[in-house]
Symmetry: C2
Subunit: 217 residues, 2 copies
DNA sequence: TAGATTGTTAATCGATTAACAATC
DNA sequence: TAGATTGTTAATCGATTAACAATC
């Protein structure tokens, strides 16, 4: 059971679907709804009912047979499972277009992530405040992360400086890196890297779209 | 072989990996390299060699036994498979933080996507130019898309107006929607929707990161 | 009770991994 | 030829789907 140095954590596609459920549940909660069945949630999300059931099961949430799930407690259980019931302080490296967009994207606060500082190699950006977050020089990563006990970081620098950014973050004690640069980062086993690729979705859209066109002919 | 009204298109995870390969291949090309083996590409990407081979096979690219793949033609084959060898004109609806970031994100141009207009319900935004793209009122979606023969659109409006935006796009003849709002859109079968969820990656990072911590203890 | 829904087990399907023959 | 690598087939694994018993 070596598993490449990492751990089984239940089903990954399921984990990725949970935030979507959460969004919908919060909306229903706001509308004053109290109970939802797996069937209705399946309809709202477009996923098959058994998938929704399995995903909920993974979080440990319990429903009432013949009734459904209590929305408030389902939300609480999903949030707890995702670790979104606490705020994770995070720093961001690379305040370009994408970086500043992420800083300004309000959605993350309700997803357990809060940016408390940003860093950039460009002296012209250093000292400015972007979306309420101060931009500091790269040399401040280590002291800042140590002082504020930061464990989570986002990399939004260009591909050719991503590894360098990762090295600085690792040296600063960061253990979770959300990497938006299209490179594989080399880090110690104790550091978790999540690579994010917007163009993956674009590729899927275009290829699936084309397959669809062919059918209609 | 009904398959829910849609079509088999080879392996979806594989399609999503191709843009990453492409990024790396372009970088190697820029460095003056001519040939690469599946093994080296596997090392660069962190994916297992057989996965890389299968993914390349899917694009129809051919290598030379005992030698490897010609980088130029591998790039060309992947681009052709993804539809990135041509520019797809696209429009964007919802010029908020995320929307304007996508407009400003230069990366899409090398990925076959070019924004030729943006649309917003907010009169204060209409008439302005964001990252070189003009912002027009929602009422102009239909005439604009018709005149410029646009088929691809990106939705970056808040969740509660996403369906309305989708309806406008469908009425305007759009057939491919890249949806960043956390809702399932109801559209005709002829329209392809790709939902994109940044918080899915965040969820994965936090859950995997936590599993990792437990192991070290 | 009757109807609805959860929770779980078994069957299927697709993607990944392993292995190796063919080829330059 | 010897070494390296592609291309493909078979085995494994994990996620999805189907089915249904248990329960309110």
């Amino acid at each position: 059971m070596v598993n490449k140095g990492s751990v089984r954590i239940g089903n990954l596609p399921g984990i990725r679907r949970l935030p979507f459920y959460l969004n919908i549940l919060r909306r229903l909660q706001g509308d004053g709804k109290n109970i939802i069945s797996a069937v209705s949630l399946a309809e709202e999300t477009g996923h098959p009912t058994p998938v929704v059931k399995k995903d909920i099961e993974m979080t440990g949430a319990a429903g009432k047979t013949g009734v459904g799930y209590d929305i408030d407690s389902l939300i609480a259980d999903i949030e707890a499972f995702l670790g979104w019931n606490q705020i994770h302080d995070a720093i961001l490296v690379g305040v370009g277009n994408l970086g500043s967009a992420l800083l300004g994207y309000g959605g993350f606060k309700s997803h357990g992530l809060q940016f408390i500082a940003a860093f950039d190699a460009d002296d012209d950006k250093v000292g400015k405040v972007t979306h309420g977050v101060e931009v500091l020089p790269l040399s401040k990563i280590k002291p800042f992360a140590a002082r504020r006990n930061v464990r989570t970081a986002v990399i939004t620098v260009p591909a050719d400086s991503a590894q360098q950014a990762a090295d600085l973050l690792v040296a600063a004690g960061i253990t979770r890196i959300w990497n938006f640069a299209p490179v594989m980062l080399t880090v110690p086993e104790t550091v978790m890297v999540q690579r994010e690729d917007l163009s993956a979705g674009l590729a899927e859209l275009l290829v699936r779209g084309r397959a669809n066109e062919n059918v209609e002919k």
